[in-house]
Symmetry: C2
Subunit: 416 residues, 2 copies
């Protein structure tokens, strides 16, 4: 029979021996009706088994008006909404989540934030974080600069998908030179309309952080699986470490900058940047001709020719152990470097610092001109290389710049 | 002046105002003499500052004879030595480490092992682990099979460089079908002639493990930074997680199989394979036309053409979050799959399980035919894909085989 109901409609379906009620979901198989039951479970029903479908409630793309409360007398915070789960809600039509459609809808979902603070909100684009690239990073950094031109703004919160959030926090740490206000990126692993959503605590802690005087780019997120407190993690030393846990972001090769619960507690050993008289300068040059390449045993070094032929200017090789690739790569690495490519080494183990001097392979690779990036994360190394090679005026100084500690990307306390 | 001393010689060097004593190291700069002082520090002295050099003790490539004690009445263990730090020692000439030259020298370094057990030792090759590839993996597995043909042998210890040890433990878990004896791979992060060497405890714990009745391929290594106990970690669920720490190997998405201190304690929840009547069959097919590719934001999907043109049969894409790449990749992914390539998804976060159903990008990618490997590690996924695609007789069953739990590569208790 032909089914006269659409995704999102709440329906009653008559089968041979029983009737089921639920919401129709988008189905990828045209012969199956996919239904979300009241219990929350989804079932697939072959259309040939369906005797009748009655629409009980037609789906409406609901749009509720929300009046943003007055900010008078409240601390002023800039809020940049870029998409991701934190700006998404469950979609009745797919059973998955979809992006909120506008800034007002965002405000409606997080009323507490707008009641407590004077939120200056803008959304330059709405994008899932896996789709972001250097042009999005530039747009965000310009938006930060613009908002901070207003001296009343105490700091900036950026909401963003979690998948590539640590790439964005890293590149903003380099783009925003002379930063003198806090910038906190935050996210959620579960959308706000789920009971287990982590969005509200993350946002509230991000707000608290940007009212501090710590002029760093950080990621703020759940410190544990519970809803009790968050960490602020340095933008260049943080990585998404779990597909689904709410405390997915972890400080790597260092400690969190601060613990945020009732108040913001800075961890004593942390030498964080303070607000000062520096003037914020946007330095958002970026070369897209850089790549991050993970080495694995038996990997064919021919891949290096691909990057050379495609005109890549730099590579970060994610190496094994203290910084090794197989010996038969060394010749091709030398040839690439000779042809003008910059090749950097980062650690596949994630934790710890490289040291090319212990083993003969490392010594050979270092001799060939590879830049060993000590304990810098691979993801940070990739965006930093794009940033450094984006600067034509740094011609001849590329290695020096890669090894300069611009934004805490090296843990100075770690021995080499 | 011309210096008449060679690397490894213990010398006295006369400078303008003082004299220094130490061992000459190999120097990459012909104008600098590199000297290891008694204090352990290395210093570089410009040759032009040297007034005289006296050789106090000439370097000899020492070779000491060692008689392996009789194994009579002791438990019999197979030991396969493949190279790496555990089979290396400090090299006086470079200040780094170098491989032991023969099996006798290995026995001399680890006398306790040979006193306690009847060690049947063989070294099919001596290689640093970053240089290993599928042909080494095949050689090792053949050696295991050969040693286990001797029914007296209780289990096998394999010593191996730590850099790619988890790739080897994974592939052996697939190659050794119907395994009915314990196989423990072990390593060291510091060579045996350093005070802080982890080699001896790792070897002793590996020996204890292979005397158990657990017929699994495991990695045995330090559980903590102290020298008190080790873990046995399932070969397919383990990863090197630190460049230099001795407890570098960690169980991922599961717990260790056993704790090994005074005795071997199996963790109760673990459903480990027991010795039985199964017959060990070597199934060491492997296709080298597979690659592991880590995705990063802004990555050019043109790389997929490279792999297609080079005749690759399969790729593991290390995706972000729950299993995403940027939307503009989906078209090329579809084209690759249509041309017969197998594309699998693994998690860049390392921890957690993929779930393509939550977000639209994931649903689109899954629809394109990508095989989502749940909580399987990227490194395990790479070797398993090589193994599966090495089987011509599995034609048409590749996806089914990738999703079959052969060697605990999926944690069954994790929900999708």
């Amino acid at each position: 029979m032909e089914i006269k109901a659409d995704a999102g409609d709440y329906v009653s379906i008559k089968l041979a021996k029983r009737e089921v009620k639920g919401t129709i979901l988008e189905s990828y198989d045209k012969d199956i009706i996919l239904v979300k039951l009241e219990s929350g479970y989804n079932i697939g029903i072959p259309k040939e088994n369906v005797f009748d479908v009655k629409v009980i409630r037609k789906y409406k793309g609901e749009k509720v008006k929300y009046d943003i409360p007055s900010g008078k007398g409240k601390p002023k915070i800039g809020l940049i909404v870029t998409g991701g789960t934190i700006a998404s809600k469950l979609d009745a039509r797919t059973g998955g989540v979809r992006a909120l459609t506008d800034v007002e809808e965002f405000a409606k979902f997080y009323p507490k934030l707008f009641e407590k603070y004077d939120i200056k909100i803008n959304s330059p684009f709405m994008e899932l974080s896996e789709n972001m690239n250097s042009s999005h990073w530039k747009t965000i950094s310009k938006e930060v600069k613009k908002m901070l031109d207003d001296k009343q703004v105490r700091g900036i919160i950026i909401t963003h998908g979690s998948d590539t959030l640590h790439y964005t926090s890293s590149i903003l740490s380099f783009f925003l030179r002379g930063l003198n206000k806090p910038v906190a990126l935050t996210f959620s692993q579960r959308s706000i309309d789920r009971g287990s959503s982590d969005a509200e605590l993350n946002l509230e802690c991000a707000a608290q952080f940007v009212l501090s005087n710590c002029a760093e780019v950080v990621i703020v997120g759940h410190a544990t699986e519970n809803d009790n407190y968050c960490y602020a993690l340095r933008g260049t030393k943080v990585r998404k470490m779990h597909t689904s846990r709410r405390d997915t972001f972890k400080a790597i090769n260092c400690k969190p900058i601060a613990k945020i619960g009732e108040k913001v507690e800075f961890l004593e050993e942390y030498n964080a940047r303070k607000e000062g008289n520096e003037k914020l300068e946007l330095d958002d040059k970026f070369s897209n001709k850089v790549a991050l390449v993970k080495f694995y045993p038996g990997m064919d070094s021919g891949i290096l020719n691909y990057y050379k032929n495609e005109g890549y200017k730099g590579l970060v090789l994610e190496m094994t152990g203290l910084g090794h690739v197989s010996s038969d790569w060394i010749g091709k690495i030398k040839a690439c470097i000779k042809s003008g490519m910059f090749i950097c080494a980062s650690a596949q183990t994630i934790n710890g610092s490289l040291n090319p001097k212990v083993y003969s392979t490392g010594r050979e690779i270092e001799k060939s001109g590879v830049i060993y990036l000590k304990d810098m994360l691979s993801e940070t190394a990739f965006v930093k290389l794009g940033w450094v090679l984006g600067h034509r005026n740094w011609n001849g100084k590329e290695k020096e710049k890669m090894l300069e500690n611009f934004a805490g990307e090296f843990s100075e306390f770690l021995s080499e």
